[in-house]
């Protein structure tokens, strides 16, 4: 059996909305019957925009939220029936730097959580030393976390998930807000954990990171897994169309809608680079891109748009997501 087995896992939230005394119950399906498994020594990426259901999935896997239906087995234990055992088999880094006690030092934080994970006190000290050295915080171990930089807090939060050397580790946005050097360090550690046989689930908004680290990626949207394959397989599927990136000014929404009406164009995604200067870029998925490009440019110029740069690009996981859902991961 794989360390992680997710079986028809679903979560529905019922919220009450409306004015006081006239609130109406509203049902929100956050996760809709998802299935996947993660074997030993695999990094499994969960990709999706905000509100897609990634964090709810992670929180169900680590027993913070009870599933509405379905189940997941972590190390063979059910997240519904054996929550204590699941927690023993899990290391978790939830997103954000406020997952630590700011009035404790870095060392005190790790030793506190080591005790909650029932580590033998002498071993906890040794393990704390190892982890502080691993992320370059040994020199600052006796400094209160409130005096740490954001990057230092995230690195400490990251190694907190490694304290109990769990067979399954969940990382929710592990490199968010980190500088490139620290991000590289964290990615190297994650790769090392994979080689040691840990099953790793990773959520990230960073496409390059997901592409670089993940053995398989699940794209999740509106609570459902819309694609699950290796990054290279996923990108291969969108290679059948060309991706043209056009940077320019004064490109209106009406123009992008009109471009989507071109028979060769399958998707157009706009991102505003600098709204004050009306700068934006278009990412256009099109069949026979080189043939349709003059037609696209001629249309934009005729509509008074200014084109500053045109590039044909290699597909990324972002493009896979756009192709599958019609919207950007950062939406």
């Amino acid at each position: 059996m794989n360390p992680v087995e997710v079986q028809s896992l679903s979560k529905t939230f019922v919220t009450k909305e409306g004015p006081l005394f006239r609130k109406v119950p509203k049902t929100l399906v956050a996760v809709d019957s998802i299935n996947f498994s993660v074997p030993k020594g695999e990094i499994f990426g969960l990709l999706g925009p905000n509100g897609a259901g990634k964090t709810t999935t992670i929180k169900m896997l680590c027993t913070l939220i009870t599933p509405s239906s379905g189940d997941a087995l972590i190390g063979g234990f059910s997240v519904v029936k054996n929550q204590q055992k699941v927690r023993e088999n899990l290391g978790v880094m939830l997103t954000g730097e406020r997952t630590l006690y700011w009035k404790l030092t870095g060392r005190e934080n790790l030793e506190y959580f080591a005790a909650l994970y029932h580590l033998d006190p002498s071993y906890a000290k040794k393990r704390t030393d190892e982890l502080l050295i691993l992320v370059g915080l040994k020199e600052r171990e006796d400094m209160l976390v409130e005096n740490y930089s954001t990057g230092m807090r995230i690195r400490l939060s990251f190694v907190k998930a490694l304290l109990n050397e769990a067979p399954v580790i969940l990382f929710d946005e592990p490199t968010a807000s980190l500088d490139p050097q620290s991000s590289r360090l964290i990615r190297d550690i994650i790769r090392d954990l994979k080689h040691k046989g840990h099953a790793i689930i990773l959520t990230t908004h960073n496409m390059e990171e997901a592409d670089e680290l993940s053995d398989r990626v699940a794209i999740i949207d509106h609570g459902r897994i819309v694609k699950l394959a290796s990054p290279s397989q996923l990108k291969e599927k969108v290679k059948s169309s060309d991706i043209i990136e056009i940077e320019g000014r004064r490109i209106s929404e009406q123009m992008t809608i009109a471009l989507e009406g071109f028979s060769e164009v399958s998707k157009v995604v706009v991102s505003a680079d600098d709204p004050s200067e009306e700068k934006c870029s278009l990412r256009i998925h099109a069949q026979k891109g080189k043939e349709v490009l003059p037609k696209i440019l001629e249309f934009l110029v005729r509509k008074q748009a200014t084109i500053t740069k045109v590039t044909f690009i290699e597909p990324t996981l972002e493009d896979v997501f756009i192709a599958e859902t019609g919207r950007s991961l950062r939406d």
Partner: protein, 279 residues
């Protein structure tokens, strides 16, 4: 990896939660100073009001109604127990809410410890803090104004320790409310003022209407305050007070069971609705 199991693991976790709490108290010392000052301030306020209402007969009226002329010790014992009760009832819930807002509550709930261990760990820290407050407030007052009653302080301390157990039960109950409703001070401040009114903090409960006295009878602070005053001011022994100690022991059994059961129900519901991460 070397881990501990069974009782050693639980004791290790409890010790860690306890020391974390103590470190937070020492690194945020304002609350501790507030808890030390409030019993004196409330006592002086009551003293002033008594003088104003009772005029020249205030002291003799007090002695006639309470059986003691030592107003300061009588009132400071009530105040010290009230402050202890305040800390215990408020702190477990507030600590949870504080952790919920900071994001550390989820981190604790991710660990393989049960919730009871977490609540008891938080409570253990409060026991040390509250008994410290009690000894400083009551001990200093008695040592200065009523030295002959100083030995009684230790009997009073025992009454307090037994009384803390049911109070923690009430604290667990409020911790559940805090997880659900997220407004800790609304509940705890109202209930603490109700406790001060009903438990004989500043006057004997016998002055309350009969039906209110029935409510006083189910509150542990009533017996703690009463026993302390009898031990310190009237030299009563613990044995002679066995009746009210027995009631305290029953409450010490009932409140934690009831409080934790309600907390567990609310916590179970919170994991369905995802309340732990909501602000």
């Amino acid at each position: 990896m070397r881990t501990q199991a069974g009782l050693r693991a639980t004791v290790g976790a409890l010790a860690a939660i306890f020391w974390k709490g103590i470190k937070h108290y020492t690194r945020y010392p304002g609350n501790f100073l507030l808890y030390l000052a409030l019993p004196f301030l409330f006592t002086f306020m009551i003293f002033g009001m008594g003088q104003f209402v009772g005029g020249g007969n205030a002291a003799s009226n007090f002695a006639a109604r309470t059986g003691t002329s030592n107003i300061l010790v009588y009132e400071i014992l009530g105040s010290a127990v009230w402050m202890t009760s305040w800390v215990v009832v408020e702190d477990v819930g507030v600590a949870l809410r504080d952790e919920q807002m900071k994001g550390t509550l989820e981190q604790n709930f991710l660990a393989p410890i049960n919730r009871f261990t977490l609540l008891v760990g938080l409570s253990l820290c409060d026991i040390v803090i509250t008994t410290g407050i009690f000894f400083i407030v009551a001990g200093v007052t008695i040592a200065i104004t009523f030295p002959s009653g100083f030995l009684g302080l230790f009997g009073a301390f025992l009454a307090l320790l037994i009384g803390l157990v049911p109070l923690f039960g009430i604290g667990f109950l409020f911790a559940g409310f805090v997880v659900k409703f997220k407004e800790p001070y609304v509940f705890t401040q109202i209930i603490n003022l109700v406790f001060a009114t009903l438990t004989g903090t500043y006057y004997p409960v016998t002055f309350l209407p009969y039906w209110v006295q029935l409510l006083s009878g189910i509150l542990p602070q009533t017996y703690v305050i009463q026993n302390m005053r009898l031990i310190v001011l009237e030299n009563q022994t613990l044995v002679s007070l066995y009746g009210s100690f027995f009631i305290l022991l029953v409450l010490a059994l009932a409140y934690p069971i009831l409080g934790y059961a309600i907390f567990k129900q609310i916590e179970k519901r919170a994991s369905v609705t995802g309340e732990f991460s909501k602000y």
